[in-house]
Symmetry: C2
Subunit: 364 residues, 2 copies
């Protein structure tokens, strides 16, 4: 394990806001974007937090991010709408779209928005969980850098295209399913590569279409496998879910889709002949109270969670984990104790601080 | 392979309608229920077609199906609603709910319905595809007989809980993703058991929590594994998707959920202390034209499909399969040439014919 420095979330937030302001974001947008990133770190999704701040800045420096976007609803019909993010940070565009979905839900019981001309939006859970603050059910998906090959192919055609549902409970922590539709999220490969350890077979294949356990093969022309890993174990389902996310986020909104999705990772090129603008998201919200008495629902969710937690363990000492529970525990802990930043991430943040002449709280 | 008899879909439909009428369904309900089953056979989903007719009749004989249901919308708020199926056939209740979702979509751009007090609804694709007839996007999910153990458990807590999305295209066949959230659908195990062949590791485990390739172990107290098969390969995602379906179909509607879902398969008992009525579905519909010009969308879907079909093959001779394409080809073929029924299925249908004194088109 690397050495690390523990930083309070407020210090980290303060610095992150200053970076977003330095590249031209308004104070409000900088605070929102920082909140999305810090939430990832708080929840223990370290791959999607400030570790990616350099990546967002790189996109800005390459002219791919508009830090003063005019975000508009370009089309709508009652509960549904399309939003154009004007090449803004996905960290800002997606929450704006979710706000609109929430407003639609106040009026129509549900709100669903497809978003084009956006960029990488951070953790899907941030956006879906905005619905929970209103007592609603939230949904967030996005297409992403093409890294996954469909079943029977060795070409990178889909992103790890996550799906997130956020569902409130009563006494229990909310149910938050936030999953890549690949066998493993790219962040897990990044961690293995950093630690120089092999990954399980079934996560990726090399550029020659061969099984490999070397995470480095992804950058060397290889590709990730869909959830299910191989046809016998249902990789066509993982590929189908990734395709669904691509269609709802990209085809439906007017964004780019499939292999043309403009990449976030630096090792993929931006392709010519894009069929749409930027990348796409799909966000949704539903009012529980239109289906069932809200109090009754929260009690039933608690019953569901308690029953699943008590399911007979596979082996002694194990127990079933409820989606969102480990992240809720981590968030409470890190809010109090601070966020550990490993050397490599801290070095990247110091580089940003020096480049943009910003004060920072990091040890050299 | 068994011997088989080829029956025209109209002869098979005629007989199936007569069975549903014999157990008390109205002519309209019998025709609808038969249409759902025959569509499965036409599309090549043999496990979910008339092969299950005996199962539905068994539920009726056990007093679990009301063949004269009073199906009602019990709660609603603009675009969203809950339907009570009054213990009717899921084959009838789900299309009724989908009709309501379509009407909501005419009015509000989207329609989402949660359904309780229903029964097994056949193939999810039938219901989701009802939206396509209106040029809409359709969604269908259902909870089901508890057969799947969550990650880190050996207890059957979830059904194979399918998710289906139906999305229209232009010149191309529609995109129809219809997938169980387990590594393998129960139908595949039934087929392997009938043929007495082993299944891949990663589909199920024995009642002692051990890896097995014997499909028979499921009935002997074993359990299916979620999509992903093991933790290293993302089984927590398959479990999460199955949980999501259970929550939207069961917890949200007021149906039973988790291990209490009243089973369709005869080898599971009906549990006491059910937290709701019958099993549950979740159905939805969205108007493409509220997001994007409809013609533009259909062209973009064709482009998406054509690009994916051309993706570089993993091995020579392979090609990427678009979801829904094989079933569309099969449906065109079987509509013309008839539906092959294997001995075991035909024998079951003859038993029904004799029990209810019905004319039938089957060879002994």
């Amino acid at each position: 394990m690397s050495d690390y420095q523990v930083i309070s979330s407020s210090d980290l937030s303060h610095f992150t806001i200053s970076v977003f302001k330095a590249i031209g974001c308004s104070s409000a947008d900088a605070a929102l974007a920082a909140d999305v990133l810090i939430r990832a770190d708080l929840r223990g999704i370290d791959s999607h937090g400030v570790a990616r701040l350099e990546g967002y800045v790189r996109l800005f420096e390459n002219g791919r991010i508009n830090t003063k976007p005019n975000i508009t609803v370009s089309r709508e019909k009652k509960a549904i709408f399309t939003m154009d993010g004007d090449a803004g940070l996905g960290l800002v565009v997606a929450p704006r779209a979710m706000e609109t979905a929430v407003e639609k839900t106040h009026m129509f019981g549900a709100g669903y928005g497809s978003v084009r001309n956006s960029n990488h939006f951070g953790i899907a859970a941030y956006h879906a969980m905005m619905a929970i603050e209103h007592g609603y059910i939230g949904l967030a998906m996005t297409n992403a850098s093409p890294l996954v090959a469909p079943t029977f192919s060795r070409e990178r055609m889909l992103g790890t295209n996550p799906i997130c549902y956020a569902i409130p409970a009563g006494k229990q922590a909310p149910f938050i399913l936030d999953m890549a539709t690949s066998a493993a999220a790219n962040g897990k490969l990044e961690i293995a590569e950093r630690k120089q350890i092999p990954v399980p077979e079934g996560w990726l294949e090399s550029k020659d279409g061969l099984a490999t356990t070397n995470p480095r093969d992804l950058k060397d022309g290889g590709y990730l496998l869909p959830l299910g890993s191989d046809k016998d174990h249902g990789s066509h389902k993982g590929y189908g879910l990734g395709a669904l996310v691509d269609i709802l986020s990209g085809v439906l909104s007017g964004a780019s889709f499939g292999p043309w999705v403009p990449p976030f990772v630096a090792f993929l090129p931006v392709l010519q002949g894009m069929p749409g603008k930027g990348l796409g998201h799909f966000l949704g919200c539903m009012d529980i109270d239109g289906f069932i008495d809200r109090k009754d629902f929260l009690d039933r969710m608690d019953q569901w969670i308690e029953r699943f937690r008590e399911a007979q363990p596979q082996s002694p000492g194990q127990r079933v984990i409820i989606h969102g529970e480990p992240e809720a525990i981590m968030q409470a802990q890190r809010a109090q104790e601070g966020i550990p930043l490993i050397d490599k991430v801290r070095a990247g943040l110091i580089t940003l601080a020096e480049k943009y002449k910003l004060e920072h709280p990091f040890n050299h």
